[in-house]
Symmetry: D2
């Protein structure tokens, strides 16, 4: 069974590493602030002092870091991933990073003879804990196959999408649809309430019909209760819409409705709801 | 057990009347062209020569007619519903009609001492056959209760929404969200395909995540296969979006994204896709 | 020289009737509250007690009334226009009314053998005073020709557009463009100010270039000074956008940008700026 | 009188340099393909072999180049502007370049002790020939003042806007308004024509009213005649809209209508009208 490294024990990473341990994998963990390693060590993980040590000790290493800056530093720092990389080893970045960062890291790993996979996920805290993420992988296919058994403990669905960059692209497509749906639900609910319909009944009707989906089931009551406790920060959604629109300019695709949804998210962001959940877009719609 | 009348044996009505018969209800049917009654009579229905006779013979009568003109004529013609209506009898219009038509019919029924319920449905042919419609009722609550056992054979969900008009309003809200989602899926798929993602994989990823819903499961492959065989005609969706926007003007609700979706549906309608399925909106998006 | 009747001495009508008197026309005036006739009688007008008397005394009668209800009542009341109408007389409605009202009045006038012209205007108080309105006439061409010399004192431009209805339609087209431009200016100014450009300089640059127009010259400083003193009430502009969009549904024309502009005006209306000038749309944009 | 250098003799530059010569300025010209210098030398210009020689021979040098790449090369090439730059000399870039290019060039000029001014213009071929451009200057104010007499021969209006970057920003704001207006005119005309109004009369009515502007006067007949002979390429307008939207994301300004206009321009671009005039946007609207 593969020895797996795990870098980054935030909300997502902690849950994911725990799932790997539960499944019996041999996991070596590292986190910038070492304290976060403690509960995982209690569950059987080995702990390393630097990303370099993790990489050296393992067949392949998974990272899920906060942002592109953290992703970059973890790779390029003195005792970073690159320092430990050697021919045949694998590096799987499950962070959501921009295209340039993904390509830069991919190139650096390749230059050491390593194999690289980008594998951003669709899904947030709850699916990470439940092992029901959707994994959008692209890059080295042999590494994808090798990591398959581990991926199957992290998510309920995984796809291999080709060259590095296609994983991030898939994530933009999916999140763009999600952003448009969030605005659609908000507008529908707002219209219905102004028309004296009962909000809970609107949600019941949706839930019983062709549009029933986990997202509406989860977010619908949040809208009605003015609850915006964050599972997916609104500013990140707006960023994804912005990136999807930028991609559409590059690829020559007009996006009439998504551009309108983006402007609604921009208004919500400007109104100060950037750190709230995407459900807060309702606050500028109603 | 109540004696139920059934007027209108189109695609929807035929399936619904059959479900009532299957459940053991005593059903008297009528249709403008009498030939459509034959298979239902074979299943045990009584047949009447006019709407008047149906109403006279039954405790309450359900109608599901093609459009407001047909709904009106069935009620107001010489041997129409009104001619047979008397104190205590019920009339349930499950057609999708405009506000003015619904109120006019409601008033006429009341003037004869009858009870009226509007009960448009969410769902098309397949749910009608499977008895899984969503029934959006409003009007006379005693009639709603009395028709409950029958409704439970026609649909998997029913709600009572108050005064006449609220049923149609709920339907607009739900269809408006559906229209926005149809455009969202179209734009997402179009962007992904231009970005060299595999269409089937995009649908798989959606199906595995928070946006998984019967509608995307049904329409997604239609988009990829350029299949627009009609289950919900695009021109009707555009009409519902237009009515929802008109309602929003009346109620004072800005609908930034739905208005953009409406313009996309307008373009599809103008391009000649009005009689195709709503899936054909993809043809002007891609 | 034609004897001209004039019904309705509001802000617009008062100024227009005065211009006719100044030009030497023989004018008989009427207004619902007779007090408003006094200054015009002082300028040489005759005064009549009812619309009927005006029409009886004149070759053709011009009306400019507050809204469709007033336009209708002035025609159909006991001593209204219709009571005085006879073969060959002319009636020119310069009010902005809906299609149905225009056709109803046109039909009634024709039924008495009278000639009818709808002639809504582009331009508000100042152009009315200066005699620089733009007159959008449609209906009876002989009446258009006969009223020509009078029109030339009321406006700087007049067009004859064919059948009744085309005048109102032209007005919608023109006001729709105006609404879109008002939002365009608002968005440009808001973006520039957030980008630390000087507002007055933005207006100077516009004024020196291809987009220089009386509207931007007039409204631009109002935006910068948060001045929304009303010359064209925002709610009327929103109504015109709504009607233009309804017309586009009827004629099969997608209006992507105008529908977006309409939603911005709706937001401004909902936010309580309906009675302010159209310049107040800036308050929900900035 | 200042000795003025002039780099770049394309459509714009040729006309501008000629205007300076006509006004009696001492002008030294250079162009990548030297043949374009001939007519200007015939009008009294001196000719230099490289940008370096131009800069060395003059007090300040004006450049108007095709794109950021050309702007960059003209400065940084072996015998480029930078090679000739020394303390106190001025360099005025009237090209439309991106922010990064402007800042890089500004920094390089400053590093040699030179003074830098960005001065993009509003206006195309005709205003360049007529000396009626609008000049949007930002950077070194002493250079702005020194170049004032020359600017006054090139344009009818000039503004000084502060730090480098503000000139380009003003241009984006102005062009964004222009793009929205182009779509507004297109939608209005398309709606009117579908409603059987005469196109020429629509333009007459606009021309007589508050929206009368050189742009509508110029572009209106082009729309009616399906003439898209290029004065401002559509793809450049779409690029400016894209940049304005990117700026709005940075500055926190929602742009509901401009984003809709951008999507219309994107559709026109995708449909193959990128090299046509912005008037060609009408082809995807009508």
């Amino acid at each position: 069974m593969a020895r797996i490294g795990f870098l980054g024990l935030g909300i997502m990473g902690r849950a994911m590493a725990a799932n790997l341990l539960k499944a019996g994998f041999e996991v070596t963990v590292w986190n910038r602030s070492a304290a976060k390693c403690v509960p995982l060590v209690a569950q059987g993980a080995a702990q390393a002092a630097t990303p370099r040590e993790v990489v050296e000790a393992c067949d392949f290493t998974i990272a899920i870091l906060a942002d592109p800056a953290a992703a970059r530093e973890t790779v390029f720092a003195a005792d970073g991933v690159l320092a430990g990389m050697s021919a045949g080893k694998g590096y799987i970045d499950m962070s959501t990073v921009d295209d340039a960062t993904a390509r830069e890291i991919a190139g650096a790993i390749a230059s050491k003879g390593g194999r690289f996979l980008e594998a951003p996920v669709s899904g947030t805290k709850k699916p990470a804990e439940d092992g029901t993420l959707v994994i959008l992988a692209a890059g080295d296919q042999s590494l994808y196959d090798e990591a398959g058994p581990a991926f199957d403990k992290l998510g309920k669905k995984r796809v291999f999408l080709g060259d590095v960059g296609q994983g991030a692209r898939m994530k933009l497509v999916v999140n763009m649809i999600m952003g448009s749906m969030m605005v659609a639900l908000s507008e529908g609910l707002a219209l219905g309430l102004k028309g004296n319909l009962d909000g809970a009944k609107i949600l019941e009707v949706i839930e019983a019909g062709a549009m029933a989906c986990p997202m509406f089931k989860g977010k619908g009551p949040m809208l009605l209760n003015d609850d915006a406790s964050t599972s997916f920060p609104l500013k990140h959604m707006q960023k994804d819409l912005r990136l999807a629109l930028a991609l559409s300019e590059e690829l020559g695709q007009s996006l009439q409705a998504a551009s309108a949804a983006n402007e609604v998210f921009k208004r919500a962001n400007i109104a100060g709801h950037g750190d709230d959940d995407i459900a807060a877009v309702y606050r500028v719609v109603r």
